[in-house]
């Protein structure tokens, strides 16, 4: 029994990390390059082909379908990163200089452990660690992510990385607050910190920000109280407001935590060369780079799990109806994640960077207070409509 548990967990870990997350990371980088290029009327990497994309009419020469070429780019990039000279400057603090890239990558991947990425497959729940304090675990591990950046900035012993590290620290601490506070309303409603149970709740009562996904036609028998127009009651309609506020604050906080534009102050190219990873090269740089994208994927998975119903899509049964549906559920989850990733990318190539004082003002004076007020609103609504 114990051995089975360990083996199954190991299979899930290997499957998720090497089967899904890491390929998704590399193809997010590719998507970033393609989408940014298309948004700027360029074409982007369209040469390095997997065999299919080199067939005329499918990719290379056909301008109507410029997306298929270049699907081999992530592999080429990885080879390039591995083969480049791994240069360690003489003035760095060697031990921490080597430690920092590892610390940047690990928390981002570790967080995925508690996220339910599917319903179940052959009766095995599709979450690596089903712990009761899932969300707190996410926050705890995410708060450790700042060490990689701080150490990189400090150990590089040079001014631009140091400024980047200092910026990253203050930014991540500031936005961690509003991130944590923004989802307290969810817990007030659901009374649950366990991520699979949060998804379960959303299946029963509708997604957090789209509360009518549990319509009669979609899930007959699940819906208990159809008082107003048959599908929503007043409480759910009023509760929509604080939920949208929560969603908004949480999404913005994820942007800030993952150092994405418009909050990419720690690595602002135009000001700080490359911020905290200026002195890094080769695979060590790649770890920072990929760690950032891995953090983005974990952030998106969290948004999907907390606000967008996790792996649930109305009308699609869960994994207990056959393994094919279990796979479909996993597909649904990552489809939502990919959609959010594309949104992140689109935002990056649309908005300019904030000024540093604007960033701090926004975090401390606007989002922090809004999140606090939001908790009060939610508690008030729960007091006014006691079921």
């Amino acid at each position: 029994m114990d051995w089975m548990f360990i083996l199954i967990s190991l299979a899930k870990i290997l499957g998720v990390i090497f089967g899904i997350i890491l390929p998704l990371v590399s193809y997010t980088v590719y998507a970033e390059r393609r989408v940014s290029a298309l948004m700027q009327d360029r074409i982007g990497p369209n040469r390095t082909g997997i065999p299919l994309s080199l067939i005329p009419g499918l990719g290379l020469k056909d301008r109507q379908m410029p997306l298929l070429g270049g699907m081999g780019q992530p592999i080429a990039d990885a080879v390039k990163f591995l083969l480049k000279e791994d240069f360690t400057p003489a003035h760095v603090n060697k031990f921490y200089y080597w430690l920092a890239p590892c610390l940047a990558m690990v928390p981002a991947i570790l967080t995925i452990a508690v996220v339910p990425f599917g319903s179940s497959l052959w009766g095995v729940p599709m979450v690596i660690a089903n712990v009761n304090i899932g969300v707190l675990f996410v926050f705890a591990v995410a708060s450790l992510g700042v060490y990689g950046i701080v150490l990189a900035g400090w150990s590089s012993n040079s001014k631009y990385p140091f400024l980047g590290g200092v910026r990253a620290t203050s930014q991540m601490i500031s936005y961690e607050l509003s991130m944590g506070l923004s989802i307290i309303p969810l817990f007030l409603i659901m009374g649950e910190l366990n991520l699979p149970k949060i998804v379960e709740y959303q299946i029963q009562h509708g997604w957090t920000i789209i509360p009518f996904t549990n319509l009669h036609s979609f899930a007959p028998g699940l819906y208990k109280h159809h008082t107003w127009r048959g599908w929503l009651n007043w409480k759910e309609i009023v509760m929509w407001v604080p939920m949208m506020i929560s969603f908004f604050i949480f999404t913005v906080a994820i942007f800030a935590e993952t150092n994405r534009l418009p909050f990419d102050l720690p690595e602002a190219e135009t000001e700080l060369v490359a911020g905290y990873h200026t002195e890094y090269s080769s695979m060590k740089f790649a770890l920072f780079f990929l760690g950032e994208y891995a953090a983005m994927i974990t952030g998106c998975s969290l948004i999907v799990t907390l606000f967008l119903g996790g792996w649930h899509i109305p009308g699609i049964p869960d994994g207990s109806h056959g393994w094919i549906w279990g796979l479909v559920n996993i597909g649904c989850f990552f489809a939502k994640v990919v959609a959010l990733l594309l949104f992140f990318i689109a935002i990056r190539w649309t908005l300019p960077r904030f000024r540093y004082d604007q960033l701090m003002r926004l975090g401390w004076i606007f989002f922090f207070e809004l999140a606090l007020v939001n908790i009060l609103i939610t508690a008030g609504i729960m007091a006014i409509f006691p079921n």
Binding site: N132, L136, A140, S143, L144, E176
Partner: protein, 166 residues
């Protein structure tokens, strides 16, 4: 949790705890403390106290020590700047440590529950709920007072850090 893991993490905690005071570099000291905290959190988790363990990481390793590190970096303390320990201070430190150990021994000796093996926990503990429940019923007043104290401290910091307008 197998005893092996307990001893591993207890040893890790102590080794890095000693390393906090032994390291010449302030940044190394701070990071040793972080590792020590994480090992301590693992011990908490092994006792099924998930909430306390995670809060240990979230608050101490994730927030307090980051601020410590931040300040150490901003002050730019170099390893050479650390003063040589004076013989009297070393002796005083050892004395205080010994007193603490003696007190601990005394307390453990006078605490009969410590000698008994506690019964294993049956059902999974809902520790977040229990902590919250106790906090808002039995310890409601102290909790509120602490909240007011923190508010006072926050306002104090804001007042102190505000520039004086002439």
């Amino acid at each position: 949790m197998p005893p092996l893991l307990f001893w591993t993490f207890a040893a890790l905690m102590l080794i890095f705890g000693i390393s906090v005071i032994a390291q010449p570099n302030p940044v190394s000291s701070a990071l040793s403390l972080v590792v020590s905290f994480i090992a301590l959190a693992v011990l908490f988790v092994s006792l099924d106290a998930f909430f306390i363990g995670i809060i240990q990481i979230l608050v101490y390793a994730g927030a307090v020590m980051v601020l410590f590190l931040f300040i150490i970096m901003l002050l730019d303390l170099r390893s050479g700047q650390r003063k040589k320990a004076h013989a009297v201070t070393v002796a005083g430190g050892i004395l205080i440590a010994l007193i603490f150990v003696a007190e601990l021994g005394q307390v453990l000796h006078a605490f009969p529950e410590g000698n008994r093996t506690a019964p294993a926990l049956g059902a999974p503990v809902q520790d977040v709920q229990s902590v919250g429940h106790v906090l808002f019923t039995s310890y409601n007043l102290p909790f509120q007072i602490v909240a007011v104290l923190i508010l006072v401290a926050t306002i104090g910091v804001v007042v102190l850090s505000k520039k004086e307008l002439d």
